[in-house]
């Protein structure tokens, strides 16, 4: 009985782990560019296939800045920026989840009517200067020191990193 219970607890503890891996596998993705698949999540790892721009991919795992994907021509690791996560259909599902989380869905009615407004080109063209709002905005201005204190509170540490320069494929 005791052993059985232990086994049960052990099995139960596995569920979340399994669940995490499951959640990742099968996520849809699209290739943003032609790229080479690697056997490991490193740039100098051996090639294990390739995919072409626009190809549908199965995202299996994420590790740091790398994704393990299944493509038509093999399975392997690729830099995460070569892949667009999700598809249009999962996108709208996400939107649904977000809407529920923000209290906009659930009752089937729009909860807030006052908060819903867009900001179209026409709105911007017709806009009139609002001195009170600018003053309010300016009242929140923080000093560099206050910014540093905030960073310290979050244990944020600056690192040396040069500004990125345009890549060769950068469209003009």
């Amino acid at each position: 009985m005791r052993i059985k219970l232990k086994a049960l607890l052990f099995a139960a503890s596995l569920v979340p782990i399994l669940h995490v891996q499951m959640a990742m596998s099968g996520e849809a993705g699209t290739a943003l560019k032609n790229d080479t698949l690697r056997t490991e999540p490193f740039a100098d790892a051996k090639s294990s296939g390739s995919f072409t721009r626009g190809e549908n991919l199965d995202i299996l795992k994420k590790q740091g800045a790398w994704l393990q994907v299944k493509a038509k021509k093999g399975t392997g690791w690729v830099r995460l920026l070569s892949v667009k996560r999700g598809t249009a259909s999962t996108g709208s599902q996400t939107a649904g989840v977000l809407a529920a989380a923000s209290g906009r869905a659930g009752t089937g009615q729009v909860v807030s009517t006052t908060g819903v407004r867009g900001l179209s080109e026409e709105d911007l063209k017709a806009a009139k200067f609002n001195e009170v709002e600018v003053k309010t905005l300016e009242s929140y201005t923080l000093s560099a020191d206050q910014g540093r204190q905030f960073a310290n509170a979050g244990d944020l540490k600056t690192i040396a990193f040069s500004n990125l320069k345009a890549g060769k494929g950068d469209a003009k």
């Binding site: 920026l81 996108g91 080109e121 200067f129 001195e131 600018v134 905005l137 979050g154 494929g169």
Partner: protein
């Protein structure tokens, strides 16, 4: 008051001589493939505005005609705009604006934007966004600006920067974010626009063209009020597209600043992934998609720029635990 107008006219005439030369240079540029913006279109627009030949739409004409014909009357009917706009902007050195002039110009545009969408009434939220933004801006090349940030009341997904360091993000975009690194990336992109003076340069070029076009029609060019109106310090500048390469540059800078600040470098790319999943026909992204390259293109461009440069960057923070949750 009168003397100030007179000196303006004098400087204006002087400027015209300078500017006609500059204009010629600019027009030469426009024949280059991928020139920064539609120079011909702007010139045409400017000429039509100045000469009044524009076949204005009914809504447009009611808004603009009275000001053109009776400048004095409108000055009193729009006290707020007249006070802030004219006082700070009339004497701008458009060739080489000072930091103060740049801020005054940005303030004017920010005020118009806020007229379209006011700040979210949540002081804790605004303070939080200013804290993150100020820290990221401190890692930029223009840490000396009085940076200010605001979340504005709109369900659209967008963010705006105006010259001098006024940055606004919509509530709709904020709602899509899940951690501080993503917010840092978004604000970093806008900070990049300000650092590189992308919007300011568009305004400068437009101003030079306006003056140049006015030179062709001296009768209207001497109308100082009309000129200052044509500068375009309204919020419509925010509805205009920058050159694609300016957006890519802001992406690269935004990611660089957030990374230097100690954040997880991929915050901005995560946001681009999220926005890219939004249906194109969704009205909340209409203006964003109209004025920016598609998120997919931005991801590819960023990926090319990054290459292996982030491979050794470790320990960046996402700080989802202290990410400020919207109240509604």
């Amino acid at each position: 008051m009168r003397t100030s107008i007179r000196t303006d006219k004098q400087t204006f005439t002087r400027n015209n001589l300078l500017i006609s030369g500059l204009l010629a240079a600019l027009l030469g540029l426009s024949s280059m493939p991928g020139a920064a913006f539609d120079l011909k279109g702007v010139l045409k627009d400017a000429v039509e505005k100045q000469t009044g030949t524009q076949p204005a739409a009914p809504a447009d004409s009611t808004a603009k005609q009275p000001e053109a014909s009776t400048p004095a009357a409108t000055a009193s009917s729009e006290p707020a705009a007249a006070q802030t706009g004219d006082a700070g902007l009339k004497e701008i050195n458009w060739k080489n604006p000072s930091k103060e002039e740049e801020i005054a110009l940005g303030r004017e545009i920010a005020g118009n934007l806020l007229g379209a969408a006011p700040l979210v009434k949540d002081a804790a939220l605004q303070k939080y966004v200013n804290s993150v933004g100020r820290w990221v801006a401190s890692q930029s090349e223009r840490a000396d600006l009085p940076w200010r940030f605001g979340v504005i009341e709109s369900d659209d997904i967008n963010a705006f920067a105006t010259p001098g360091g006024y940055i606004m993000i919509t509530k709709g975009l904020y709602r899509k974010l899940t951690n501080e690194a993503q917010l840092a990336g978004v604000l970093g992109h806008e900070i990049g626009h300000v650092v590189k003076k992308h919007q300011l340069k568009v305004l400068q070029k437009q101003q030079l063209l306006n003056i140049g076009a006015g030179f062709l029609s001296s009768k209207y060019a001497k109308d100082n009020k009309l000129i200052s109106k044509a500068i375009g310090t309204g919020a419509e500048i925010s509805a205009r597209s920058l050159d694609k390469s300016a957006e890519y540059e802001a992406d690269r800078l935004g990611l660089s600043y957030a990374t230097r600040s100690g954040y997880e470098p991929y915050g901005l790319t995560e946001v681009l992934q999220i926005i890219g999943q939004t249906n194109k026909s969704d009205s909340s992204v209409a203006l964003l998609f109209k004025t920016h390259p598609h998120p997919d293109e931005r991801l590819v461009a960023l990926g090319d720029a990054i290459g292996s440069k982030l491979d050794n960057i470790k320990g960046g923070k996402t700080l989802e635990n202290r990410f400020y949750q919207l109240k509604n």
